[in-house]
Symmetry: C2
């Protein structure tokens, strides 16, 4: 009995794996996220039982979540609202369950065995369909009143941004996610982000928003590393633009963290393994 | 030997006290901050020796500081640049010295025995001649690449702000400190902040900047409480304006922290006592 289980719970699919090394998930399986949470949980439980016994399971999940109850709270996926995912898995498997947001999980994974291996202060931001962020401060994941919700940072309009573009966040319009997520770029430029040429001004504007987020993160938690992951960051030419713009914005006042791509192939899934190992 | 020493080290004065209760500093004394740091340190050492022996000393100091060396680093007060304040006191007194920024000290004090007594996640922001912030996350003060520098958060121009006002921060112009510190208000409105009537639009604009900071702090570290202190916050009518504006900006998406005045009469000095107690 040396295996751990890992669950990366997303709004469209659950990715599960077993293993004893966060870098080597074995037997990776995907289940689509059912409109009936009990159905998804029983698929996950069955998958693990067939491979058990396990020492523990880690869950890096979509949110928002409540740490006290281990439940997903006010997600737009109505069937999952207030579903007690942590306890459902704990009861089904009878093992300790480490439970956190997908992006806190990814931050933990990157800090323990990825781009920030061995560091105690790291932020992970995913820039894709949405924007989310997780943070490790002093070696611990940030849990406060709730958890980080970095997608909704308020940012300034980038130089060159047009006032007519109101942003796509249903809550805030032009918060970070509203201006810089994949759907925001598509709404702003009329084509998916990955069809925009590297020299398109869209990338300079995108870099401005991400650089503002990085500078403000440095002002608040002073991380050693900021990892930028997610589909949009697959455009690697964005990294030098973000770094240069962050230096311009901070004007040499602050030492800026390294701004780097993920070191892990599957940050959330590897992070879920670390959650499992650290909860045992 | 039950006494602790506390030092609140500021750019213009050092405030020192002894005691065994952070809420009851005894024998409070002020020394002006000399252009010769060794002179100030020897006054402080002499003060404590006369009242010793002490169990330990806590220092909440102006910054920026480096935790590894215990030095003040690139302060505009040139004589103090790279001065190893922590070790100078440790050598002079031969006791353990707890050492942190003034605002981290204040955050610790407010969390241990002030407005957020017993909480593990709290931010303290001072709004005065400058703006600074300290943070406790998971019960620990935030130390990363350096420490929080919340005065330099990038904020949006408030609705109604004029483009001609460039802000007063020598590094960034219109960062939070550049737009919302006491000197910024004076530069913007032509009179000291405390001469502006409560119904003056200056306060609505000021509240917008502080509310943006509060919302972004909620997005990053999700504190249970944000304490707003410093001279400008002596205008208590600002608190409801900040709270209301923060609710407007977050649009119900995030649970916002309580936004409150300090619970301590001397947050920095009381925090220095806690630093002393917790380093022993």
């Amino acid at each position: 009995m040396s295996l751990y289980g890992a669950v990366e719970a997303g709004g469209t699919k659950f990715v599960v794996a077993v293993g004893d090394d966060p870098l080597q998930p074995r037997d990776v399986r995907r289940f689509s996220t059912s409109n009936n949470p009990l159905e998804t949980v029983s698929e996950v439980v069955e998958y693990f039982r067939e491979r058990g016994p396990l020492k523990g399971v880690g869950v890096a999940t979509f949110g928002p979540i409540d740490f006290a109850s281990g439940a997903i709270t006010n997600t737009p996926k109505l069937a999952w609202q207030n579903f007690p995912l942590r306890d459902a898995l704990r009861r089904g498997l009878n093992v300790p369950v480490g439970f956190d947001t997908d992006v806190n999980g990814a931050a933990l994974g990157e800090a323990r065995c990825g781009a920030g291996k061995g560091l105690e202060n790291l932020v992970y931001i995913t820039v894709g369909t949405g924007i989310g962020g997780g943070a490790l401060v002093g070696g611990q994941l940030v849990h406060g009143l709730m958890h980080p919700e970095m997608g909704h940072l308020l940012v300034r309009r980038a130089p060159g941004e047009i006032a007519e573009f109101k942003g796509v966040c249903p809550f805030h319009g032009d918060c970070l996610e509203g201006l810089a997520s994949g759907p925001a770029m598509q709404a702003r430029w009329g084509v998916p982000a990955d069809e925009l040429a590297p020299e398109h001004e869209a990338w300079r504007i995108e870099a401005d928003y991400l650089a503002q987020a990085c500078v403000n993160l440095a002002c608040v938690v002073s991380p050693q590393v900021i990892v930028l992951g997610g589909g949009v960051m697959g455009q690697r030419h964005l990294f030098p633009l973000v770094r240069t713009r962050a230096e311009e914005l901070s004007q040499g006042y602050l030492p800026l963290p390294a701004i780097v791509p993920p070191g892990l192939e599957y940050p959330g899934l590897s992070g879920a393994f670390v959650l499992a190992m650290e909860c045992v």
